[in-house]
Symmetry: D2
Subunit: 244 residues, 4 copies
Amino acid sequence: MPETTLNVKLLSKTNNALSVIYSATRQCYSASFSGDIFDKTLPEKSKKDISDFISGVVRRGHESPLEHVSFTFAIEGVSRALTHQLVRHRIASYSQQSQRYVKADNFAYIIPPSFQKNETIKSKFINTMNSLQNTYNELLKLLEKEGIKGENANQDARFILPQAIETKIVVTMNARELKHFFCERCCARSQWEIRALAYEMLKICKKELPEIFDSLGAKCELLKFCPEGEKSTCGKYPVRTKTI
Amino acid sequence: MPETTLNVKLLSKTNNALSVIYSATRQCYSASFSGDIFDKTLPEKSKKDISDFISGVVRRGHESPLEHVSFTFAIEGVSRALTHQLVRHRIASYSQQSQRYVKADNFAYIIPPSFQKNETIKSKFINTMNSLQNTYNELLKLLEKEGIKGENANQDARFILPQAIETKIVVTMNARELKHFFCERCCARSQWEIRALAYEMLKICKKELPEIFDSLGAKCELLKFCPEGEKSTCGKYPVRTKTI
Amino acid sequence: MPETTLNVKLLSKTNNALSVIYSATRQCYSASFSGDIFDKTLPEKSKKDISDFISGVVRRGHESPLEHVSFTFAIEGVSRALTHQLVRHRIASYSQQSQRYVKADNFAYIIPPSFQKNETIKSKFINTMNSLQNTYNELLKLLEKEGIKGENANQDARFILPQAIETKIVVTMNARELKHFFCERCCARSQWEIRALAYEMLKICKKELPEIFDSLGAKCELLKFCPEGEKSTCGKYPVRTKTI
Amino acid sequence: MPETTLNVKLLSKTNNALSVIYSATRQCYSASFSGDIFDKTLPEKSKKDISDFISGVVRRGHESPLEHVSFTFAIEGVSRALTHQLVRHRIASYSQQSQRYVKADNFAYIIPPSFQKNETIKSKFINTMNSLQNTYNELLKLLEKEGIKGENANQDARFILPQAIETKIVVTMNARELKHFFCERCCARSQWEIRALAYEMLKICKKELPEIFDSLGAKCELLKFCPEGEKSTCGKYPVRTKTI
């Protein structure tokens, strides 16, 4: 199978997200019932007023109302190198394609951009992928002769599969965790592949809920300085130590 | 303010919940992309087929796809005794009315059903509530003379407020945590007030997503036995020790 | 029972905490095995070198190694008003005294400091506590006449118990969550009772693991500015908006 | 580098684990202070009495006191195929060797047992590993000519590295999560490599805290039946559907 590239599709999200966050935030400070606040939110308040109110609260550190809203993404065209990093974000839910139950007899792979620029490197990489595909298929046949097949064969033959191999995954994160995910993974220091995924998810979030996500991105965009140190900074913002 | 009673309103939920759970579950075992599985789910599959598939997977212990779907409830007419139990469920998000920012100068309260049946007990309870309201109001005035007012006064005067006092809260839980919440809190052993809340939330979930929630409830309804022990059982199912 | 006051006792902690954090941090960047790094940490490195290394890593945002170390505190002499706030910290473990299983027939209570300064307020408060104790005991007797006793009686009579009532709780938090807890709860904006608890826990942590905790405290101590806004600041640091 | 095999070392654990769990459990039902219960636990109670008390409570579903006790393991000789599964357990803390910061210029690998039994398969696998090592080293050199080196080169060259490659990781889990981990991963259905790790961790836990861990293992050992279905069962226990 040829190389493949990132594809992100928004599967679902929380209905009426802006009103949910607004009425949950207001509930903390109000004698009224969030159920009533919710009903009056959009008829009585402009989206800008709602957004300004939420931004102010979040800036003072009250982020928990963002948790009431979630986004579910279907993701394909990413490597196992990426998903091993992705699933380290623990405040999230994942359903990932299994290398045990799904045979990789025609696997796709992700080519790093640095390989794309040099024909020698690129063809060495593609040859390696093709060679691994052949070896994988041979291993399955050899294991079958030993009486090992199906998922038992897949899960052992997978040991030769490369980190570059494509995987597919469904991810659900709430808006507070998405804010944190973008802070970390939109940073130029982040590995290029997960950074590309983060920007794609951010683009979708901005379209769906601009009142919350338009101001979000890498942590430097919020901090107005770079906490990564002189050796590591991309130079967009002045370097300073992160203090919290 | 008079007594008050439980009121639960569904604020929001994940769109297309059944298709989301189905396509996320299928992604684990399929070479196809969940984004494509999602699009074909409802045109090609009956709700019953989808539900049967999901039930089978959940029964074999694969509960994580349920996490992709969340419900947000606006809740009022519950006591602080209830919410102190509720917020112990850590895999959930909460926005609760503050006793610091919201003055309790006309507080409502919840009367336990056992008090309702006996006039002596009921009037003793209501008298106590009225007396606490008066003392609270007096304390606010006395504190104001000391130069303490607003949230600083509220947060100290609250120390005499009863556990019965009404609070309002917004709660978001995903379907996996809701399953667990119902197992624990629909049990006859659960305190009556949080049990009433659990049944109200379950009723809403069954209406919104019957394919997932119709089979859920107290843990005995799933286990077909009672793990609470001879001394504590309600008698609906035979007693047996829980083993996992 | 008379008034009571805060008492915090360290029940337990992770052994060799400094070496654990150091070797876990190093594992991320090293070809060596953390098990071997661990054995060599204290013989080969000074506590100051270890501490400097960890501080540098944490300042650049790599906080996760702090999670490998936990502290367990036994806490008494705190109000239910406090614990309802405390248990909102979800990345922690709690075992709390139950008002259902433990009869409150001689309850202790916490008196807010603002009440201590004014004899009228203080005696009004203590009279209310004594009156609630009497009513609670009467309710238990009246319920018993109705055939309701033990935990069923306790859990209903508790509805009149005040927020000031003493509770006891065991809390386990890892060092990363403790850092966050101190940032939030050592702040002058935090409610006085949970702030006193936070400082007591911080004192213990500094004694046990100064290399990690000596630099921690309210978020302003790390930020060197106050993100709480002009209206709310305590004035220790200049006000600025928090940006992340 | 040659093949390598699993090595697990206990880095640290919570001090006085049995007394911590016992006093935390008792705190829920007792008017006494856990700090005092803790001091009296071992002088006044036999380890068997303590263990019986805890077991009874856990069997009735009260698992949360187990959370107060944690174990930290240093693990080496495991594949990236294993750790990608391992880190899906979200109630745990991880510090893993990075393929970006640690150059894989002499990588070790794990050979599946099914490959060990057949010389053709084994040598095909080892040849593939050697070939991938050579290609990795060549890619680093080619990238260096392009001006890409250090972590930027490592993180791209890693795309050809196999799932079999060895990684090292530090893992902290509390006893409740360990119980769950053993239920899932000691099962014969679990992939052989993570199952071997689970049994090694269980062996250590049994040695350190037999009063809690001696009764733990795969879920069937607790359930006394197999919930995996007729097609998947290992046959040790009769098949039955899991109901909760």
